[in-house]
Symmetry: C2
Subunit: 562 residues, 2 copies
Amino acid sequence: MAVKAQVLYDFTAEPGNNELTVKEGEILTVTNQNVGGGWVEAQNSRGTVGLVPEDYIEINPGSTQASSNTQATQHIDAHNQGYTSSSENSQAVNGNEPWSATAWSNNNPVNNWNQAEQEPVGNNGSVYSFDEEWDDDSDDGKSTGGYGGSQVEEGGTMQRAGGHSTMKLSLNKFPGFSKTPNPEVYLLTKHIAKGDERLPIYTGEVGPVWLYPQTQLDCVVADPKKGSKMYGLKSYIEYQVTPNTTNRPVNHRYKHFDWLYERLVEKFACALPIPCLPDKQVTGRFEEEFIKMRMERLQGWMSRMCRHPVISNSEVFQLFLNYRDEKEWKLGKRRAEKDEIVGVKIFSNIDPELPELDPAQVEQKYEMYSQFTRSMDNSVKELLAVGHLHWKRCTGPLQKEYRQIGKAFQNLSSVFNTSAYPRESTLTEALTATGKTYEEIAEIVAEQPKKDLHFLMETNLEYKGLLGCFPDTITVHKAAIDKVKEADHLVVMNKISQQDKLIMEKNLSTMSYALQAEMNHFHSNRIYDYNRLMQFYLEEQVKFYETIAEKLKKTLGQYTTM
Amino acid sequence: MAVKAQVLYDFTAEPGNNELTVKEGEILTVTNQNVGGGWVEAQNSRGTVGLVPEDYIEINPGSTQASSNTQATQHIDAHNQGYTSSSENSQAVNGNEPWSATAWSNNNPVNNWNQAEQEPVGNNGSVYSFDEEWDDDSDDGKSTGGYGGSQVEEGGTMQRAGGHSTMKLSLNKFPGFSKTPNPEVYLLTKHIAKGDERLPIYTGEVGPVWLYPQTQLDCVVADPKKGSKMYGLKSYIEYQVTPNTTNRPVNHRYKHFDWLYERLVEKFACALPIPCLPDKQVTGRFEEEFIKMRMERLQGWMSRMCRHPVISNSEVFQLFLNYRDEKEWKLGKRRAEKDEIVGVKIFSNIDPELPELDPAQVEQKYEMYSQFTRSMDNSVKELLAVGHLHWKRCTGPLQKEYRQIGKAFQNLSSVFNTSAYPRESTLTEALTATGKTYEEIAEIVAEQPKKDLHFLMETNLEYKGLLGCFPDTITVHKAAIDKVKEADHLVVMNKISQQDKLIMEKNLSTMSYALQAEMNHFHSNRIYDYNRLMQFYLEEQVKFYETIAEKLKKTLGQYTTM
């Protein structure tokens, strides 16, 4: 049976890309659902076939489904589709490069999620129905213990870190630069931001800035607890998340964080970089160290989200932190999933109370941001690479070498002890102490990366993730500039009116303010983070060297001065 | 023409070794001069053929030589023989393992020296005649810059250090354990130590000890100067040696040190371990670093010799430090070369004013000394090996890594500088300073081994050299015990008298006291040296860690506290 789909939003095909221009409300026949990359091949009523963005349409698989249940229907279908990509995915995971781009570019990570979230037939309305599904975060990742720990293979960090570097949805819906979300729909419409969703931008000391709340939201992710379901057959970890506003903890599993992440990407990724969550994993899921590491990274991610004035204030984020019971959570989830202000539409909420910007200026700024984030990305990667090396050196050869030095001194002491010479003991005792001190130094050296390098690596990994989101975000903006550049030509061709052109320029200016506010948010956070990071790192390094000096001084005191 | 030889000292063959018993004054026919290992095959007047120690006879190559010039004659012959072994030797030197045992076990290192020292015919009596010979230390060694310097290949240290580990003459005259200098001659003779050559042994707090002088002799090796001869065609380095007794400097070239070494080995090596001189070298002989290194090692060697009460008091050593003019030097050299109290005969000068020791006790002590020196040799080698590794790590990968860390911080700072964000400068300046600090740390880490590890390595190399001499020395003593053990049997067989047996036991006791005094000297020096060494090493290590901590603290102060 032919699969039908209804177009949710207007979409204008880019020439030469086999795309199909569609209008809101139009009915299409889906000719190929497995194109991948967030695209679907469809035929319009005039018989033209082309690609349409998957999230611009709503698929109706046959007439048996009630039209009032389209959302769930879509999920079921996505679920079916999800199976295929899921099996492909697990193949990639079991390969040699579990964290390579392949493993991450599974066509529809959201579908895996939805697969779990769909309500089983006949179980409608049950409070537990959506919480006793199969634990789907159990088979699409791999355990990782650290950057240089013995469990991590060479290059493991870089590959895993690679997973951080792009927003999942960007891979899904904007594969490469050729299929950027088309900002045309937004650009051509005159927008008046609604009261409660309005996102104002002001001029701060540093230029355009978001409106920051008086009290900064923060939360504590803590107290991981093992839970089980299916009569103990499946188990999971639940984290306690306590926001500083209510001081009332809510419980969330990793999959809930993942759901939140998907919602944030859907809603904000065109305007704000949404860094990936920490990786999922397969084995040793309840291993203490892994849970600790995941919790730490979830904390880092949540703190970063809390610090963002737009994200922290969003309905979905507030729901995640503040829901009072399962019912509220469930209803809130449904509402969030039906949110229509997603993709480029987010810009319609943005309200810069500032003079309109000249497109040429805008373009120049974008070039600068693009250049900066690319350079910083390289620099962060360089730091991660050398940090990784240093970690391995400290826990590997250096530890071994200091142990050997320690052993050599102790062996010499043992030999001296056999001399039967009567004046031996002071030297042999001091030599033994020296040997033991170098053995202690070996352990100090091997433990040190966990104390200082760890935080440096974690923060840089976070930044690597963030920076990896910028190219996609900036590409949306660049596409908008291109559209506006075409505007003059379109006016001449009578395709748009002069009025349309002015609206486009106004909207471009709004987008530009959004990006500037976001860049300023990024810079301010970056300066704060790196200041804190470097101070912490250097403090720990000073302690490290001082501790060793102190230990050696103590052992030196055991020798007789001659 | 048959080569004749006159026997200089009595020699009793060891049964089963193809040796020939000869008496002083006897004339032999040399049947094979190229046996090697310090032995010559000869036939006595009764027609018996066997091996005789090369240095127990004086070879007369035909009747054309004047008998009054036998010493010079021997040298000429040794010279001829030397050519062969010298060419073999340079082959070994140019091979892959220039410092392997092969390179050192050239049959007759003394001959190379004598080759240079012989006076040219017709130039007799010229003051400069013995100083303008070809510079023979130019082709039997190789330049070495350090333990872990870039010029030294992997394992270079260990191989070179191998050169330190045995007395040359022991390889020459006592090849392996099968041809130990036979102590029988000494054991069977009743000795009364002469006044000025007498070497008394007393009981000190630690047991038998040498007689130590009230003021310890020492000297300073300094001020290396380049000299030339043959109208500038050949050049050499002359070192200034100033003893603390006269405070009057004398000049010596490396070859003079080498001559002294050979004399000391000849005279004392049966009783005292005489460590090898620092290595010779071929290339870059006038390179500053090499000269500095050689001078430092000659200083170490001379200081050790000065500290030895027997060596420092010997005529040849005093000559080396105190000669007033070329004539005195030349005459002294001749006398030293004609010294008859060499090899096992040195024990006849030893006069322990102590009760005679039981042979069983003596044997037990030898076992202990043997065990101790072997264990210490292993332990010293272990320390050298790990020191070598550590040196390479510090000057290689660690330096590189700290440089990379420094570069990564500086690069990040450069990127931050391009942000155009107005609040950047404090962080970027601090980051740049941090990067530069890590670059400084890279250099500190790479320079550190020269500051502390160098002395540790040098001292342990010296000890490796010393310890390598003990097996040969102890073997002489063990051979003496074996002879004394045979004594009862020989008395029964009527080969020696009961009186002879008592003399043997007395002489064995004297030898044992000599070794005990020497071991106590060794232990006392060892404790002093390792105490000083470890204190110096630890002091430098403390400074190293404190310096780095201080530098990091300073750079930490540049960050704003947030």
